[in-house]
Amino acid sequence: MFGIAIVIIMAAAAVFAPCIASHSPVDMNLSADNVLQPPSAEHIFGTDNLGRDVFSRMVYGARVSLSVGFIAVFISLVVGVFLGGLSGYYGGKIDAVIMRFVEIMYCFPTFFLIMMIISFLGPNIVNVMIIIGLTSWPGLCRLVRAEFLTLREREFVQAARVQRVPDLRIIFRHILPNAMGPVYVSATLSVGSAILVESALSFLGLGVQIPSPSWGNILTVGKNYIDYAWWLTVFPGVSILLTVLSFNLIGESLREMLDPRLKERKELDVIV
């Protein structure tokens, strides 16, 4: 429940950002009494080095994090399910080629690859979404493939094959719906990791570019003033942590719901 509550709060902040934000997220105010102010009634999360309201930047930053999380995972779902489905259904050479490729992706320090591609294509939120999506599918692909390997031997698939249902229709209409359970779980967990990757990229200056706000690039400023402006580091960091934690908790409870055999997971009741 905790997880769902946090995600709803964050999503509400993202959707209604213009109503919630007390100030403009980008307007600067460089007067000395407005720069790097600690939290107060006027600026509840304080202000940054350019006198911008941190709370408003955080609210708009929620948009970035959540949209990157969802869209990146959507892209990786499409690619992962498609390739995993082909691989698991056909087996043989197609499977070998796709799986070798997946293994290569597994062995490579993906974050460096993402950094590289983004710096060459130009850092902006659309590229970040696409590239995180296109580099995070191998796990999903393996999962879908494993599901397909068992499902393709089942009678209903053979029945469909006997009726000369086209392969693609068997894959996506007959088998896929039965394989979706674990996919949803994995996708929920991936949203969390996509948010982590995005914030790390923005932190390194390879994600959302200033002046546009994101949790990661607020932390970049926070790093430079870490010795006396704690609010620039604490608030964005805690929001990232809570959001990712929430998606992970939702993923875990989904897993439990979909597979009651997993009694082992019961210990999570402590926190879920």
Binding site: R100, F101, E103, I104, Y106, C107, F108, P109, T110, F111, F112, L113, M115, M116, I117, S119, F120, L121, G122, G192, L196, S199, A200, F203, L204, G205, L206, L219, G222, K223, I226, D227, W230, T233, P236, G237, I240, L241, L242, V244, L245, N248, L249, E264, E267, L268, V270, I271
Partner: protein
């Protein structure tokens, strides 16, 4: 066993070719032009000079030829010269490699040292307060933005408590220290980077060793051991532990890419003079040869680590060895 190792070693080659091709393709397709990066808007540089630059680095050749040339030079461990300062990439990487290796090795050691006992104690004391607390901690560890953790560590231990240095490896006074003090000083500088680097994998690994241990404790041979009247300690540490650690070896190998990825972030944050920071700077400067060199080195390191994990696995688990023989 030797056959198995050789077979695994040979598998690294196609892997490396695949990865380098992928990287080369990405770099080739990127819209940024190294000539423009090098000479930018400098009006002094004529078009013919630009063409010369392209020729010098073979950038005017077709894609496949460029790749084959690069592979040929790579086989001789020659990554070309940096676009920025013309220094040979190999020297640049080699001078940075020890710092990265040091950081990664110490981190791995710390990860093993903490996560295994944590996971196993958690499994043995399943359902107790200790287990619950460690489960929650691990869950938070999964969700932790580790670069933020690095900032928090810097703030608490660097600024507030002033216990540990927050950046660099060899400060200006390093050359004046005696041998033993040098080691002590490096370890001192390692504390925070290692803490940040190891945190993520720590959560993953202790989780795995926990569930693997729980699985083993439910096996029948453990029941037999109990029936024989062995002490609980003997059952846990002699009978169960060995088998519970098997899958952990694989996970350790799989967590290497993450560790190497982390080095690009943490070396930048902690100003650690390693390969990760070199790679980050090269990316920011569009220094293609260095980026290629660093990514190949990073891949090699990862592949090598996974290889060691695989071989260790085969070494400790006779079932794998016999299977391969058949």
């Amino acid at each position: 066993m030797r056959k198995y190792i050789i077979k695994r070693l040979l598998l690294v080659i196609p892997m490396l070719i695949g990865i380098s091709f992928l990287l080369f393709l990405v770099m080739h397709l990127s819209p940024s032009d190294p000539t423009a990066v090098r000479y930018g808007l400098n009006p002094e540089v004529s078009n013919s000079a630009r063409e010369n630059f392209n020729k010098l680095y073979g950038l005017d050749k077709p894609f496949l030829e460029q790749y084959l040339n690069w592979m040929g030079r790579f086989a001789r461990m020659d990554f070309g010269n940096s676009f920025i300062d013309d220094a040979p990439v190999r020297e640049k990487i080699l001078s940075r490699l020890p710092a990265t290796l040091l950081l990664e090795m110490v981190s791995l050691f710390v990860i093993l040292l903490i996560s295994l006992p944590l996971g196993i104690t958690s499994a043995v004391k399943k359902g107790t307060k200790f287990d619950n607390i460690s489960t929650i901690t691990v869950f938070i560890g999964y969700a932790m933005p580790t670069f933020w953790l690095a900032l928090v560590l810097i703030y608490i231990f660097g600024y507030k408590l002033e216990w540990f240095p927050i950046s660099g490896m060899n400060p200006w006074y390093f050359q004046y220290l005696s041998g033993f003090d040098k080691i002590k000083d490096v370890l001192w500088h390692l504390v925070l980077p290692v803490a940040a680097t190891s945190f993520g994998s720590l959560a993953v690994l202790s989780r795995y060793s926990r569930s693997s241990m729980i699985e083993i404790m439910e096996q029948q041979y453990i029941m037999t051991a109990r029936a024989k009247g062995l002490t609980e300690n003997r059952i846990i540490y002699v009978h169960a532990l060995k088998n519970a650690l098997l899958p952990v070896v694989t996970i350790l190998g799989l967590s290497l890419p993450g560790l190497i990825s982390g080095s690009f972030i943490f070396e930048t944050i902690f100003a650690w003079p390693g390969m990760g920071r070199l790679g980050y700077e090269a990316i920011m400067n569009y220094d293609y040869p260095v980026v290629m060199g660093v990514s190949v080195m990073a891949t090699l390191l990862t592949l090598f680590g996974i290889l060691i994990a695989d071989i260790t696995y085969a070494f400790v688990d006779p079932r794998i060895r016999y299977e391969r023989k058949k």
